[in-house]
Symmetry: C2
Amino acid sequence: MTERKRQILQSAQAVLKMKGYAATSVRDIAKSLEMEPASLYSHFSSKEDILKLTCFDMASKFDRAIQEINTLYFDAEQQLRMAIKEHVQILTSHLDSAIIFLRDWRNLTGESLSKFIEKRNSYEKGIRKIIQTGIDEGRFNESDIKFATLTVLSSVNWIVEWYSPQGKLNPTQIAEKLSDFILSGLIKNKL
Amino acid sequence: MTERKRQILQSAQAVLKMKGYAATSVRDIAKSLEMEPASLYSHFSSKEDILKLTCFDMASKFDRAIQEINTLYFDAEQQLRMAIKEHVQILTSHLDSAIIFLRDWRNLTGESLSKFIEKRNSYEKGIRKIIQTGIDEGRFNESDIKFATLTVLSSVNWIVEWYSPQGKLNPTQIAEKLSDFILSGLIKNKL
DNA sequence: ATTTGCCTAACGAACGTTAGTTTGTATTTT
DNA sequence: AAAATACAAACTAACGTTCGTTAGGCAAAT
């Protein structure tokens, strides 16, 4: 990936974030770069190519993070805190891509779509594994694992809807607050 | 609204739910009804009209629910449990509309868009008010209210991504689980 | 001399929408 | 009871626009 291509991709993502992939035209993207629509095809093979790069780039970031955490021998609470922190970090430091990744992946087609879903499920499984460990350790409440996993992921993912780099909470603080909130729902009362 | 119009709207929503508003054409909608695209215009003035009806119909359902709850003199915990239960009930009993409402509202334009955002903020304010009451009553942890509100709404809204009428949890059970989870994060430890 | 990055021009397809008409079904008038 | 009217809901045909994309060329950088 050349420097120029990365530059164009970034600008494209900034535009896609605003109106969504389907409602954004190649001409919209070109205009933001002050270039002709056709010129984009010197760098990308199709509009969907831009979506693919964005989605799979983000997916692999999440993949790398969860895989690393899963190899560490911390207890479930620490693992979950780390996972949330990494997750928030990735989302907030690539906000444009993150929004597209979370919202527009459905516009992928064919093999790309199924591969993406597979990656997504694999990540979800990584989170679920941590929660399962917490239950096995006797630290987390026994509850519907799938339910717990999805609730965790939803509250974490939703931050892209309101996070602003200018806001009063930085990513680390957000991750801490979120972890406290989530863990209070998972951890057994120490009575 | 005639019976036929309601019927068409419902069929349109089933199609829109699949690919999203922007990626769905008027011809797609017509095909699902086995009619000609032009015929839709006997019932709707535009494609966006369908989106408008869907979004504002859902918005008013939520609006009605929160307003009623806010007039009841229960304590904050009970109010929040009721609000969550109503919210889940609305989402799950109008799943197609709910998905469109949550995902596609950004495709509204002009005055519709700003009015919608206004309604959305007003609902959010209703939830926030309940949480604030809980803090004032000394029952909920003092925390960033906006943060708490958004986390509550995110975990509730995300259920449309995985809820199925055939699943093992019914809406009431989901609402209870979700309430327990959320309230364990809000309520002060009774030490 | 070759490559890179962008251009102009234009393609065919799909888009949302309009105009005008037909059809079937109630309702009213003869 | 039969004929005339009104209306709703669908149709056919087509409009102008925008869509993603391709072909081919030109100028600057390597």
